[in-house]
């Protein structure tokens, strides 16, 4: 059991609070809890750490136990963290601590630091960089609820303990590259004492790109299957996200039919199918353009007509749904009663006269 009174100073209270509840979201705990093998190993490490204990000795013995260099590396890191935790505890005025609580605090610290690293990485990747910058870290800390402004002051505190850098343990060694292929034996004219040929891939030409497919059949095949795959995926997606109908009562998923949905104006989709719109986008129909100019000619007559007759009506005329915007120009006059301006009621005219 830990028998320690809470430290009196304010600063220590702050720190403890931080240590107790790091503002990391719960998923991070989960991620740290995750693999069983790791907890086992941690258990082992905990043992060794306990052996090292607050005394700080026996480091060697721990390292001796493990044989794997990678494990060694992790152990060292862990040990450093433990030292940090212990010194912080000392700093906070603890005389002694139980092994389990030191272990827990270490674990929390490790989680916290890992989270900072992970978040910082995310922020840096978000801005399309690979190297985190200071600002990434700052944003991360802010995001985690840490008041960054207090950091410089904390760093300069008087009673802080300086911990020596952990000894550089050997990094995990990358295993030797595999030899690929059979080394070529020396041709007869080369004496056998000369060095061996290097791996074949180093000198044999291996094109890294594929020949562009020019075979008509394959192309068609590919285009067809691609289109089919896209259509299938698209329709399946639509079917999954919306209401469906099925041909088989017992099975809804194999042949899902997107449910029939009535339109408010059914003829519009039928006569102006979006399928054709897409096709028409690719082509520009010259005849269509010719016709366009025709109507423009048509429209201009209206403008001349109404400007001559009744200017008041001009604005009203534009409201008429059928008449496209008018433009002045040629004198191709079409007399059609539906293009004539709408007259004003007669009685009003009389009023204006009188």
């Amino acid at each position: 059991m830990v028998t320690c009174a809470p430290p009196p100073s304010e600063a220590s209270e702050n720190r403890e609070e931080r240590a107790r509840a790091p503002p990391t979201p719960p998923r991070d705990y989960k991620s740290h809890r995750a693999p069983r093998s790791r907890t086992l190993r941690q258990g082992k490490m905990a043992d060794t750490a306990a052996a090292a204990g607050a005394g700080g000795s026996g480091t060697r013995s721990g390292s001796k136990q493990s044989t794997n260099p990678a494990d060694n590396y992790h152990l060292a890191r862990r040990r450093t963290l433990q030292v940090v935790v212990s010194s912080l505890l000392t700093e906070a005025g603890f005389e002694s601590a139980e092994k389990a609580s030191v272990e827990t605090l270490t674990e929390m610290l490790q989680s916290y630091i890992s989270e900072i690293g992970r978040s910082a990485k995310s922020y840096c990747e978000h801005t399309a960089r690979t190297q985190p910058t200071l600002s990434d870290i700052v944003v991360t800390l802010v995001e985690m609820g840490f008041n960054v402004d207090t950091l410089p002051a904390y760093a300069k505190r008087s009673q802080r303990m300086v911990i020596t850098a952990p000894p550089v343990t050997n990094q995990p060694v990358t295993p030797k590259a595999l030899t690929a292929g059979q080394n070529r034996p020396h041709p007869p004219h080369i004496p056998s004492h000369f060095p061996e040929f290097p791996d074949p891939h180093t000198y044999i030409k291996t094109p890294t790109y594929r020949e562009p497919v020019s075979d008509y059949q394959v192309l068609r095949e590919k285009a067809a299957s691609q289109r089919r795959d896209v259509e299938r995926a698209l329709t399946r997606f639509m079917a999954k996200t919306g209401e469906t109908q099925s041909l088989f009562k017992d099975d809804v998923s194999t042949f899902p039919l997107i449910a029939a949905r009535p339109f408010t104006i059914p003829y519009l989709t039928a006569l102006l199918p979006s399928e054709l719109e897409m096709q028409q986008m690719e082509e520009t129909d010259s005849s269509e353009q010719d016709e366009q100019t025709d109507t423009e000619n048509l429209a201009l007559h209206i403008s001349t007509d109404d400007s001559g007759a009744e200017k008041e009506n001009a604005s009203v005329l534009q409201q008429a749904p059928s008449l496209p915007g008018s433009r002045n120009g040629e004198e191709n006059v079409i007399d059609n009663p539906y293009l004539r301006p709408v007259k004003k009621p007669k009685i009003r005219r009389k009023k204006s006269l009188s």
């Binding site: 059949q217 067809a224 639509m238 088989f248 017992d250 003829y267 199918p273 054709l276 059609n336 007259k343």
Partner: protein, 1204 residues
Amino acid sequence: MPPTGLEPTRMNRKKGDKGFESPRPYKLTHQVVCINNINFQRKSVVGFVELTIFPTVTNLNRIKLNSKQCRIYRVRVNDLEAAFIYNDPTLEVCHNESKQRNLNYFSNAYAAAVSAVDPDAGNGELCIKVPSELWKHVDELKVLKIHINFSLDQPKGGLHFVVPSIEGSMAERGAHVFSCGYQNSTRFWFPCVDSYSELCTWKLEFTVDAAMVAVSNGDLVETVYTHDMRKKTFHYMLTIPTAASNISLAIGPFEILVDPYMHEVTHFCLPQLLPLLKHTTSYLHEVFEFYEEILTCRYPYSCFKTVFIDEAYVEVAAYASMSIFSTNLLHSAMIIDETPLTRRCLAQSLAQQFFGCFISRMSWSDEWVLKGISGYIYGLWMKKTFGVNEYRHWIKEELDRIVAYELKTGGVLLHPIFGGGKEKDNPASHLHFSIKHPHTLSWEYYTMFQCKAHLVMRLIENRISMEFMLQVFNKLLSLASTASSQKFQSHMWSQMLVSTSGFLKSISNVSGKDIQPLIKQWVDQSGVVKFYGSFAFNRKRNVLELEIKQDYTSPGTQKYVGPLKVTVQELDGSFNHTLQIEENSLKHDIPCHSKSRRNKKKKIPLMNGEEVDMDLSAMDADSPLLWIRIDPDMSVLRKVEFEQADFMWQYQLRYERDVVAQQESILALEKFPTPASRLALTDILEQEQCFYRVRMSACFCLAKIANSMVSTWTGPPAMKSLFTRMFCCKTCPNIVKTNNFMSFQSYFLQKTMPVAMALLRDVHNLCPKEVLTFILDLIKYNDNRKNKFSDNYYRAEMIDALANSVTPAVSVNNEVRTLDNLNPDVRLILEEITRFLNMEKLLPSYRHTITVSCLRAIRVLQKNGHVPSDPALFKSYAEYGHFVDIRIAALEAVVDYTKVDRSYEELQWLLNMIQTDPVPYVRHKILNMLTKNPPFTKNMESPLCNEALVDQLWKLMNSGTSHDWRLRCGAVDLYFTLFGLSRPSCLPLPELGLVLNLKEKKAVLNPTIIPEAIAGTQETTSNPGSHAQLVAFQNPFSNSQDEEEIDMDTVHDSQAFISHHLNMLERPSTPGLSKYRPTTSRSLTSQHSSGCDGTPSTKPQWSMELARKGTGKEQAPLEMSMHPVAAAPLSVFAKESASSKHSEHHHHHHHEHKKKKKKHKHKHKHKHKHDSKDKDKEPFAFSSPASGRCMRQQNGGWCPVTKS
């Protein structure tokens, strides 16, 4: 009896050229129609009309006008309030709620109701009393102005509102309204003289929302805003005298397009469709030019308007100076298939502008002239536009249609002459409706009528030459246009009405030829000619002995006497012979020109002067005959069944240049599945000069031949290598070229060939795997990216091809269709259909052709037992709000489901839709489809056939469809198909089966059952013992299906009728029910029919049982039916017999007719019965495990059971 419309015409004939005499005691000169207010929300219309009339008799005190549906507020004559009576007998045809349900009775009553308001007989629904103050005024024959205020609220016919339920103002929503209807239906939306023969000038005013446009007949004089500037009034003037029936209206937020070629022509379409409108109408001016040129007459109206609207009643409706089209005719330049169809519609409507709108008809019996001329000049346009081949093909198609229809249902009479009251010689006694009025006609009959009219016009042309023909038309038009510019007082307006006699007169004036025999044969008489031909070659005499027989006794046929052209292709050339078909001569000797000279290598001259090399090795060595054609010019309305050897048909197919001959030989070759036929068909398929429609039908023939030759067929499946050669890549034959539809002929062939190929079957009667893979590959590799045209029709046909490849599923035991036991081929098909149908939701195709094909294919899969039969999917697609083509396809599937699964629920659903659907066309179409593919027929036992259904349908035609002539006639057609002419067999015996006639001391059959039932003797009826004898006396082979055949003319027969009815209650298939209580007879019949399903028992059994029971039991069935006699009031009988009197003649005749054919029919029935039995059994064959296994064992392989 009111005078029929024809009487004036006949008088006219006697008097000569005096002109038309109106059936009315007044003459209409001018009418104002003013609609002040149109409310789209409430679907209501408020307005008034003002008719200017001149009395023609001095004592005119009542004026009859036509008006239906309108609520009339107030009538004033010359500003004086006038009393009026409104009576419309067509609202409910049979008033008394009698249980007779006899269609014969209904048809008579309906015809009587229609003539009671027929304007051609001077009648009308609205009768206005001329105020007494004006009598003196009338006596001076001075002008009367009748002012009628009316309104319409939610009209069910005549005007159709389309109001989409979305947000926004009515204009933004694309709401519109238009007038519609079948024949003279203008009375549905304003009071008028709704006759084609009452012409007058018009002033039309419509006040509509400022964002809307009102399109109507005549010239738009001006458009004026209302005071609040929110609405505007369109003022139209129509100075050319026009019948009210040709007045129309369309109001909506239309986009306006002035025709760039003819500025007096304006086109209107709904918002957003302007680009389509531009393209669609860009061709119209050429049609104008063509008609004006051949008729040497300018278009009679000063302007022309086309309006394209949604939910159209018919695709094309022509009115004076404007035509209303379905918006679904609009298309863009990328659509191939719709283009010719739409152009045809435009041309058709324009032809009707000249004949139908400008020139109107005197009476209903002159209708054929107008339809004939407009159809004929439309045909000339077709010939010029699409070529002679297309024209001849069309003529042949139309000829086949009319021949098939007349042979099936009896004759179509173009010019019916109705003697006043002499109903005995009713020309249409074979029909279940009256042909006296357009409004009583079945729609199908009317379509065929139009078809026959233009064919007869063509026959007249054959006789008098086209030049004279056009001169006649020109004469009619120029007379009419002179008349149209005259003031009313000159009485010239009747020149604008065409009559049969006037038309014939101008033909004889112009051509100097007597065409009376031709008219007598085809116009005054119904029926077509049926020839059977065969021949023998007499080598000694070098003579072709041709035998031509006629069948003129079957219904719908007539005897032909006169010239008949026969063309004989010999080695030396083609020779025409004109034979005289006479009364008794069957054999005709035709001398041959050439001796058989097959060894001399010489080219053979054809009819068109071309000389060709032929391989003559297939020929008969002794005969110089290559082929023979009877009536090659189709100058008789006939069906020819001609026998000639297979090689002759093959020569005809290869070398005859006439498409009709080619078509005929293709049809004939179906019966000769030989390698030589195969070769001939393949050659024609490949020949690019050959008409594409011939090549298309060659595809289907080839498929049929291949199936007949399945055991000896060598090489790849028919057409596969051909298709590969024509449409696939050279390097990789399994991949189709990217689409390029520039050549329309090959496009149509490319579309058709896979559809025909899918009909191929192997020895197990399955579609060969190779073919299915081939079609699936076509779909897979279809690539339209570089095409100028849309491929939606092509893809739709590929789905049709998939559907064609489906064969009935083999079901091991009676399992439920699930995914697990799905045939792998079907799985592939289903995969495609699913994908296509889903893609349609994301990228819809033009007119949703692909959805339509998918729905049809799904129904085929259901019907063949691959997919569980279920109408739910179709019902969702049939809902209002889907595109009309989709709805029709879905409804067709539901109709089919109703038939196959005998579902009462779906039938009710369909009937409900007939009554409630917002689109008149869909309602009409459902009835039509139900009639074509009925859930049961009058000769069939069905659980669906019950009293409630009879009542429902009766109600539908009696009163439920009074707002739409076409719909009512459709309901009558359906009723006829389901129940026949007399009392429906599923009805229980009416309570008053027999009544006593105390005066004569006789018991008679209740006259409410059959009007002319004749009394039986009391003796027989009171003696139950004799009843059994009667039954035994009956034809032992007859069964319940013969019910309507029972003749009511004799005592014996009427008794037989009763005993027969009792028999129905007596059937052994409903054991354990108390059979003799008439009160329970209702439930009995319904139960019986369900119990009896599929296992029809034969008559002798029942009668034997009846005989036993009759003698053994005290309670005889007859006594029970006598039971209500005491309660039967005599007055009922008296009333009924009086009401039935007027139709007695008709019935009499009818029964004589029947008697004559009775024997003949019995045979038929018998055969039919067997057929239906077999059909009934077939489902068992499917589901029964025993039979399924049995089939397998027999064939030693996977053998499906085919469904016929």
